[in-house]
């Protein structure tokens, strides 16, 4: 069986499992999984830039928040319905990512990390500055009555779960397809050796800009979906910790793998959920787990799986 075919089967299998999980899991875990699927989209967006292109951003929260506020403000202030509001969220994220990408990509390495971090901080402060509209740190609620998409009440647990699953599936299949296209392979070539890719004639700068923009768009879609499905938009989601989280999810799950972001998001969510029942120092537990994984499985869970057993893992 070819690698591409195996990858395809794997993706469909994962989606089948997630579909079945809804009917098998108790309500609490159904709710968790809906949230995880939305956040895994954020992680997949991050992974496209970090895992496949080799660019480490410390400011992805600004893209997540752009999508969240694009949708949130369109509904809260503009009275838009969810479908056009989601589109507004995507456009907001696309614009923010496009502009930040074109500026941040003038730098490389550590400077790129710092510039993205600074842009995210500027985005966070912008949300606070326009507190009259955004309600700043406090944020605002998107009312239950407004959250119906094409007749489906997204506050219903079943509808919410399947809306999250559809979004996740679309993004997973898109990433699975993208990384096998010539463009996707050029991103991997840039990650492996940027100079060589440039010498081979690739327009490295353009490819990197497209990667930043696409990554920002996917992150923004996750932010918009989060606001729509869980009914809240707030500046906390633009703060620095929400830039670090996708990095952790991707590192734990496996950078440069298609299912790694999902694995990492599930792992971290339940690690914190269980650890917080035992101790208030649950972030310490997460930190120790992270150190151990970095020491003994530096390529993450899915990366280790690929190294040891499944070399075809996409």
């Amino acid at each position: 069986m070819s690698s591409a075919r195996s990858a395809h089967i794997l993706h469909l299998g994962v989606l089948g499992l997630l579909f079945a999980a809804f009917f098998l899991l108790p309500a609490y875990h159904q709710g968790n999984l809906a949230r995880i699927l939305v956040l895994a989209v954020y992680a997949m967006g991050y992974n496209l830039l970090f895992g496949y292109t080799g660019l480490l951003s410390l400011g992805h929260a600004v893209f997540f928040a752009a999508g969240m506020y694009g949708l949130g403000l369109a509904m809260h202030l503009g009275g838009a319905t969810p479908a056009p509001a989601f589109l507004a969220g995507m456009i907001a994220a696309l614009l923010v990512a496009g502009v930040i990408g074109s500026l941040a990509l003038r730098t490389v390495g550590v400077a790129f990390m710092i510039v993205t971090l600074m842009f995210a901080q500027a985005g966070y402060l912008t949300i606070l500055y326009f507190g009259t509209y955004t309600r700043g740190d406090e944020g605002f609620v998107i009312p239950q009555t407004a959250r119906a998409l094409w007749g489906f009440d997204l506050t219903d647990p079943t509808n919410r779960y399947f809306a999250a699953l559809i979004l996740f599936a679309v993004v997973l299949l898109f990433i699975g397809w993208l990384v096998n296209t010539s463009f996707g392979r050029s991103l991997i070539a840039i990650r492996e050796n940027e100079e060589r890719a440039r010498m081979l004639g690739y327009d490295v700068q353009r490819a990197k800009w497209i990667a930043v923009t696409l990554s920002g768009l996917l992150s923004g879609m996750s932010g918009a979906a989060y606001a729509l499905l869980f009914g809240y938009a707030g500046a906390t989601f633009a703060s620095v910790q929400y830039s670090i989280l996708p990095l952790l999810w991707v590192l734990l799950g496996g950078a440069g793998t298609t299912i790694g972001p999902l694995v990492g998001t599930i792992f971290m969510f339940y690690l914190i959920d269980f650890a917080s029942e035992v101790t208030s120092a649950y972030m310490l537990v997460a930190g120790v787990a992270f150190v151990l994984l970095t020491l003994f499985a530096p390529t993450g869970i899915a990366g280790e799986l690929r190294r040891r057993a499944l070399p075809w893992l996409p």
Binding site: L128, R135, G136, G139, V141, Q144, F230, G234, A235, S276
Partner: protein, 427 residues
Amino acid sequence: MTKAIDQKPSLTRRKTLKTLGAGALAASVGCYVQAQSSAPIKVGFQVHRTGIGAAYGRWYDRTTQAAVAKINAEGGINGRPLEIVAEDDGTDPKRGAEVVEKFATQHGCDIAFGTLFSHVVFGSSPRAGELKLPYFVVSEGHHVASGKLNRYTLQPGITDVKSQVQAMAPYVAETLGKKVTMIYPDFAFGHDHRDYFSAALEAQGGEVIAKIAIPPTETSFTKYFPKIPRDTEVIYHVMVGPAVLTFVKEMGEFFGPSKPQIFGFIDSLEAVDLSSPGLEFLEDTYFWEGHPRYAQANQTEYDKTYRAAVGVDNNGASISDPKDVSTYAHMFGCWETLHIVKAGMEAADYQGPGDRSKLIEAVEAMTDMPASDAHPQGAKVFNGRTHQVFGHQYISRVEGGKLVLAHTTSIEDTLYEDEVDYTTQSF
């Protein structure tokens, strides 16, 4: 003999099974009735153990445990004990919503309770509404009464910032001065102070002559003080977060001995010892307090009982550690809220989650709450339409390094027009 053989045995296998079955059913019904009558009422306690709200969370926790111990010692609620299921929300709105879900769908809690920080309330409230879980917040935000939340979210144990701020204006204008400069954090909490106080002061014939917003990331404040106009009669300050102590100290260094009247919200110094070095200049300044930190000359028996139950000394610090200063101006809200939950559940004859809407209706029906052991902060009036309680506010003056009560507002000073009627929303 034949007769004897023909006679059916009086205890057939079918009869035996029926009897055993009936017995088992009766026993299980008995158990069920027992479970209904004595199983604990589970209160999901959303506590800020970590994150920016940790100092408040520690004292909210102690107050909650003390209230539960008292309620259980007095026979619980409808004869059932209260059980606290505490989960840390990290003072984060995302985790807050997850914790509310956990209370409802994993722990099987009857209600959720205890949230302080407004952004966590905003993040969690939609999920509480969707899960139809009564959510009793202790936040002092105006979010509940503003109509931005839902019928399942109530704030019956602590007054909101709008009523607190507007009740200060008459005293500030009459006693301290009419030209006020406000210094506040540049985010929603600060903006609420700016907007509500400015309007209330104007109504008193006063004027806010400068509004100085401090960005939340600021760590040094010296550059802001020269912006204070010379003709300022009163400085109104409210700051929160880790830099508050620096702010207050730098303000003291800026003014030296010739300071204008200074009025602050105790939020600036909650859980901070007033005898900390650098705070000497606060002598003769004024503070809003939700509940006087220091035991006053006219201390009520209710406050005395409450203080002892929570383990707070007459200076507002922990009995076991005088350096561990409480968040006394806010934490009474946990105590009072749990007593309201008890009163509401008893009025609604609450049996289980199926009676959640009855519980909310019972609380909505409440009005006067006289000062008592259940309401040690003072008498209150609950507005069932807006799900918000109103009560006395306290203004204290720093004298000899202690906060001495200078003025108590009336409840009428704190009232404002309804902005929502939650009772019109369906369950």
